[in-house]
């Protein structure tokens, strides 16, 4: 079964003005689509064909012969999570079990957002910043290009794409403004809590 591009869970203009319509059209319809197409082409007829996306990420990571497979598989996985954890009218603060764990593991919600912002702003070049479940603890990390915390044994529950294609049309060089808008207006905390429950299960 070839991999397919999942539909966006909202219309292309749903995240305006914090993420523009043209950005979402290109990001989902061109960039994400290209990762899916490339991945399918690269694994066709190899021992990875038929394996799950997560297995392909883990099996191809750090294998010099499978760099392109890893890049495209990682990006397919990363973007699937990215679309899920945003919504119109998002941002603010989570509640419930997720907030309790964030406060326990980071000291406060504000301490978490500071760590997350720093990770997102300091990832040099293309990449991602993450909130992941590492064993029983929540942790903020950053990764370059298509890499993700899965291959380091963690379970990402929130990710922000800091490749320039994610924000250049809307924010130009001002990545910190994009990261702030993501936290203040876009994060779908209910979806992140659902990811947490999946990770704990």
């Amino acid at each position: 079964m070839a991999f397919t591009l999942p539909d966006l869970p909202y219309p292309h203009d749903a995240l305006v003005p914090y993420m523009g319509k043209e950005t979402l059209e290109l990001h989902h319809g061109k960039h994400h689509q290209a990762y899916v197409t490339n991945l399918n082409n690269l694994i066709a007829g190899t021992d990875l064909e038929g394996k799950s996306l997560e297995e392909i990420c883990r099996l191809s990571f750090n294998d010099p012969a499978k760099v392109s497979i890893f890049n495209n598989a990682g990006q397919h996985w990363n973007h699937i999570l990215f679309w899920k954890v945003m919504k119109r009218g998002g941002g603010g603060k989570p509640g419930g079990e997720l907030l309790k764990r964030i406060e326990h593991d980071f000291g406060s919600f504000e301490a978490f957002t500071e760590q997350f912002k720093t990770a997102a702003v300091t990832q040099f070049g293309s990449g991602w910043a993450w909130l992941s479940l590492d064993g029983d603890r929540l942790k903020v990390t950053k990764t370059p290009n298509g890499e993700n915390p899965l291959v380091h044994g963690m379970r990402p529950i929130l990710g922000i794409d800091v490749w320039e294609h994610a924000y250049y049309l809307d924010y130009r060089n001002r990545r910190p403004d994009y990261v702030a808008a993501f936290l203040n207006h876009l994060v779908n905390w209910e979806a992140v809590e659902q990811e947490l429950h999946n990770a704990l299960a």
Partner: protein, 234 residues
Amino acid sequence: MRRRAVLAGLASLPVFAWQIRVEAQTGPYSLPPLPYPTNALEPHIDQRTMELHHGRHHQAYVTNLNNALKDHGEAAKLPLQDLLAKLGELPESIRTTVRNNGGGHANHAMFWEVMGPGGGRPSGELAAAIDRDFGGLDKLQEQFNAAGLRVFGSGWVFVTVDATGKLALVTRPNQDTPLMEGGRVLFGNDVWEHAYYLLYQNRRGDYLKAWWNVVNWQKVGERYAAAKAGKLSI
């Protein structure tokens, strides 16, 4: 009130002098002006992209580099190519920052220099070297564009030149440069998304093809001669 104003005026003198001195020590690197107007490369590279790329992105690399070096006066006195060739000797606390921002400064300074309106074609010794090492300009462009497309994420594609004039095609991630291995760059193209996203969006291949229209071959020829004379810096 008057006395306080006079005292404040006196006190400001040494402070002002100190600031000048500190700036002179800690600001050894500066943003080179563009050698042409920001709209000179239209329609292949748009004015807005040039303004942001030079005035924001390159400026940020220069500012961050100077900040990283402000407590490292000896390193800050080095010519940029020497600083980059000696990254391993820098204190670990500033090594990555200097690598990223010093590399960004060198790469962009080279980039502005090898572009210009007008185009043209390689001539003389440079043309002969391209024929010898790549089988002609068409083949070089084909290999260069393919290499640029293969860079995953942010990075650069370069043609390097050694002291004998031999050319080679290489890519580097992020702001790394062959200067970091003591090599020399003849010319190179920026394939970070900020270099082309406003005009070409996801179509990096179209940008790579169009870029050849703004290569200043006369300048590249001068860099080639300088490299053979051991005088090419960044």
